[in-house]
């Protein structure tokens, strides 16, 4: 039967595109024949601004790339500069960094679960996810005074030491979180409708996933046991005991399960970090003008550097952000401003696979597959 092809435009303002993304779909009835992704509706020119700001001024901008999990962004940028300038970071600062990043990973996956299920029509999960997120955000607010855009991890250390009463509150959160994850899994993991929607949808094989440059949970869902925290260990990850969560099916449900498992794994890491946190209260290193910061609050600002210029050179440094491989390519010409900042954002690269994944599926499947890739538009468009 000959049918007319339907051109459907989803977005840029569409409830399930997680922001401002646009799908141009060529459809045969309800089946997607071709999917074109138009992006750039949130292109803010961050890389150009990176050339215009000094190294220290640019840190707040990294918060706004992947705004759901900003600590890894901060850290990736700081790590690139530290590698470029050869800065040693005090151990306690590294512990605090890992603590914040793993907490942020949990938040990211909570938001992921919530928004995925919201797109599938179950609005409850997002409420529960954000309920726990709020508790974690209160911890962040204690730590650095902001809820989403932290500006906390700086080259050479972190901005300030842990405040009083942080660790007990964190322990409380960890205890609570365990129960809550049980709730989530009970709510949805075995739900027949959910399985029906997720299994065998958006399948991508390991070979293809690598070829398309997928990273993070999206790749681990295809059975590639790959985690930069293990392969190129950075920070204190070599000292920590954790496993890489892998699922072999490569479909939407596998990617979902990877993230659920990672949340538990992050809780495990956090407990270790809390247990082995070093006592020495030095959280920043005195090189390139960064004075040692002690726990004394008001003394901190006095020592903070006003001019910071790493030596000329190029560096590509990457970390395992919650969404995948987050890398910063920084070219320094020895001045206070970077010559070029290139951000390798996981969302952008993971999105590449969507047009390939969804051909032959229906719109609801597109939403499910897109949801499990877990992109943030600030990270895609930069």
């Amino acid at each position: 039967m000959e049918t007319e092809e339907l051109l459907l435009n989803m977005g840029p303002v569409h409830p399930s595109t997680h922001g401002v993304l646009r799908f141009k779909l060529r459809m045969d009835g309800e089946i997607i024949k071709e999917c074109n992704i138009v992006m750039g509706y949130l292109h803010r020119g961050t890389e150009k601004l990176g050339e215009m700001k000094t190294y220290l001024q640019f840190t707040p901008y990294t918060d706004r790339l992947d705004y759901i999990s900003a600590f890894p962004n901060n850290y990736a940028y700081a790590k690139a500069i530290e590698e470029l300038a050869g800065i040693e970071v005090p151990l306690r600062a590294e512990y605090i960094r890992v603590l914040t990043m793993e907490l942020n990973r949990i938040i990211n996956h909570l938001v992921f679960m919530g928004s995925l299920l919201m797109d599938l029509g179950a609005a409850t999960m997002i409420m529960w996810g954000f309920r726990e997120r709020e508790k974690a955000l209160q911890l962040f607010e204690m730590l650095c005074g902001a809820r989403m855009t932290f500006n906390y991890i700086k080259p050479g250390g972190v901005r300030d030491d842990l405040p009083d009463g942080f660790i007990p509150k964190l322990n409380e959160f960890l205890k609570d979180m365990e129960k809550r994850i049980d709730d989530y899994e009970q709510l949805i993991n075995e739900n027949e409708i959910f399985l029906m929607r997720m299994k065998n949808i958006g399948v991508i094989s390991a070979q293809e996933a690598i070829n398309y440059g997928l990273t993070g949970p999206a790749l681990r869902g295809s059975g590639v046991s790959y985690d930069i925290r293990k392969l190129e260990p950075y920070s204190i990850y070599p000292d920590l005991d954790f496993k890489v969560c892998v699922q072999s099916e490569g479909d939407s449900f596998a990617r979902y399960m990877v993230r659920v498992d990672e949340m538990r794994e992050s809780l495990h890491i956090l407990r270790q970090v809390v247990d082995t946190m070093p006592e020495a209260k030095i959280v920043a290193q005195a090189k390139y003008g960064i004075a040692p910061m002690t726990g004394m609050p008001s003394a901190v600002s006095t020592y903070f550097p006003r001019i910071f210029a790493p030596p000329a050179g190029e560096v590509y440094s990457r970390i395992e952000a919650p969404k995948g491989e987050l890398g910063f390519y920084i070219v320094s010409d020895g001045t206070t401003k970077p010559y070029r900042v290139k951000i390798r954002s996981p969302s952008f690269c993971n999105l590449t696979a969507i047009p390939r994944m969804v051909v032959g599926l229906k719109i609801p499947d597109l939403i499910a597959a897109f949801g499990t890739i877990d992109v943030v538009l600030g990270d895609v468009d930069r």
Partner: protein, 138 residues
């Protein structure tokens, strides 16, 4: 449909229904968590980065905050024969860099976040709205 032969009991959905019912009746530590904002407030962390405050005695109007501000929120203006920073809070991203770099420790960030207003111009907070004296405050 193969799944129905395996899942005809709808066990997963029933499990989910039980969890949601537990929430309806607040069973097992699942309370209503809403903080009813205009009447109650969440506890703010001491480090919260809200509206700025300038220590009148300490500020020397050096302009280091102006130079270091990533997005030119700060301009130094003259107020009562002295120079003070003026903040365009409509532009500010509350990153706290100005507080970090202040050589005199004159800048603070308060816990005031109720800043919504009807015009763009009213978001420019001059020294007259931001200055405070340390003695008076403590």
């Amino acid at each position: 449909m193969p799944w129905i032969s395996k899942n005809w009991t709808m066990k997963g959905i029933i499990k989910g229904l039980i969890v949601t019912l537990k929430h309806v009746f607040h069973i097992g530590g699942r309370p209503t968590v809403t903080v009813q904002y205009p009447y109650e407030r969440m506890k703010l962390a001491p480090r919260f980065r809200g509206k700025h405050a300038i220590d009148e005695d300490a500020c020397i109007g050096c302009g280091i905050c102006e130079v270091n501000c990533p997005n030119s929120t700060i301009t130094i203006v003259k107020y009562n024969t002295r120079w003070f920073p003026q903040f365009n809070l409509g532009m500010c991203m509350f990153c706290g860099i100005c507080v970090d770099v202040c050589p005199m420790n004159a800048l603070k960030m308060t816990g005031n976040y109720e800043l919504a207003d009807y015009t763009r111009e009213s978001l420019v907070y001059g020294p007259e709205k931001l200055l405070f004296k340390k003695e008076a405050n403590q």
